[in-house]
Symmetry: D3
């Protein structure tokens, strides 16, 4: 079993808030992250897949293919977008880094399986001080 | 003459566009950066000041004071904000990194003078691949 | 189960030595790290907690609260301090990165439980080439 | 149980290809990485070992000793070398990052055991966007 | 006058040597960098251009255009290549970082002029410890 | 004219204070940096030299030689040391980053001249947020 990780990046706007909360309550729970005019981040996405080496290629997986899948399934939908308003796989969800990591996992899990590998970890860094990791529903 | 640099960070949303352009024209000139629903960045701000050493303190300038000035004059106004809609010193300007660097220079120049130093450079990094530097009007 | 990590930083002096060793023996075992006049580091502390998402907030844990806990329980005690002489939770221990990571775990474990999460990992980086991880007593 | 990681670096040339493939087939499978005139990388190697603290030293392992072992067993053989042509432990293997990580594991496993610790992970980063991790044959 | 910098990256093999030196002399002058079987690096290229703001766009220069020029004129020729054997603008030159920076300047100077800006600096980093800057022939 | 930069690192303890100040006054002026029990940093030192290319070697200067000079003249004296107590070139000076940069310049200037190059800049980073640059007495 070997693990390989690909980093991709995206820039997006978002806002943490609940529509059923008052502005005051949103500010109390989410602080400045609830600014109604949005703010944004340079997100980094680290996708780790695992599996057995293909003896013919010496690869677990062709990283170009993995990168292409991540860019089609995720980056194309979130890069230079508003996560709350424009990202189909985040519809109806709070735009937290936690929910983002889980939703990205769900976007990628089957595609990675089709590449004969297993998705191991989705890591999303929101800033140099914060990151979230999701290893699937277990 | 010695140079000292302080880094501060802020997260903000923005959009590149001209209200007098059509949506098509904005897309043509500014690409995905013109997304009407905004996108955002983790900006890094590097402020370099220069001057002579204070022999008593061994400092050019007290970095805590410089940091406080930058946070009051700049960070408090841009962090977790929408640069196009909410930042007084960017009103009426295109929200490009170039304009941001120049506007931050103008916000800081006099305050640095009051600390007995001279503002030398404002550097704004928008991503790991892009940054702008402004050395004043010369 | 989701994992979230917060980075905090501190600058401290320390020295590796045993009072029951001679100076020669300390130098032999600990090398230049045993310098009696101390040396120091910019330490980075990564605290990873795990648990279930709070569906109402979309958070595992409020990162501002986690950051506040880390700063009160750890950073306030070690930042700009001498680890050997001034840090209560390192009293009587060798000031190695290993012992520091374990002691920080012990400082944080209960407080993280009070936030309805579980401490997963304490990682301390001493330099760009060295770091220690502790996952608790298991 | 505690985990400690040492980073070492090496610069090397390599090429991904199979001698039993035609040039066209190599290009199809390995892309520009199969360039017959080689290309190269600044590799980073992170070696993580685990074990119990030595109460006398406060160490899991003396990092200087671990660094010396990594440099003798691995870095001296790959730094400023051609991985395909000059590295004994890569003879007859495709020069992929995956194979490199596994071969480095095999070079280090016994030496780490002799230091009274257990090799936990060999991580090789090929670029800022790609890395491989190997945790042994399990 | 404002300055903007774009970073691009390339991976390449090279070797420092003079064909008119003996192997011993090459080893004496260039050390392990003269390995006849090549070694390689992840190079980073920082291109800084300067000029006046375009008031209509808020840009000095469109960074996408600058990136495209750098990729066509430089990256396409050096990425995953052997600098000594395959790079037209390095033919007959010692493959040092200094010569590389100067040659890249010459590749880019006119193209930047055509974008209504002035090339200010070409910076090439060979490792995390070494970089070269060239500001043109002055 | 070409510029080349070498990075070296050192870990040291220090304290900002004046012996002619009371403890209260030291705390007022220097804050927690005046802790009598010291604190410390992972310093990074960037030494930039300039000059003309040696056409025979393609170098401005042999970086191994430059590194050796920096390590002998500076790193050997400050690494794992107490800057206030043990560093000859800092005797009687406030241990500020500014004074450190100037003193390192004075240590290196002649040695760089002996290598047929000119010292251009000494940059000392004390943390990821602060650095000082000195370009000599001009």
């Amino acid at each position: 079993m070997i693990y390989i990780t690909r980093r991709e990046r995206f820039n997006a706007a978002h806002r943490l808030f609940r529509p059923d909360y008052s502005d005051e309550k949103n500010m109390e729970v989410f602080g400045k992250c609830s600014n109604p005019n949005w703010h944004g981040h340079n997100y980094q996405l680290f996708v780790t897949v695992k599996g057995n080496l293909n003896d013919e290629t010496g690869f677990l997986i062709n990283l170009k293919t993995l990168s292409k899948v991540i860019r089609e399934k995720v980056i194309a939908k979130v890069d230079h977008k508003n996560i709350n308003l424009e990202v189909d796989f985040m519809k109806g969800k709070l735009a937290s880094t936690e929910n983002l990591a889980i939703a990205i996992w769900n976007e990628l899990e089957d595609s990675v399986k089709n590449l004969n590998a297993t998705l191991h970890c989705v890591k999303v860094t929101e800033s140099e001080n914060n990151y979230v990791e999701y290893f699937g529903d277990k």
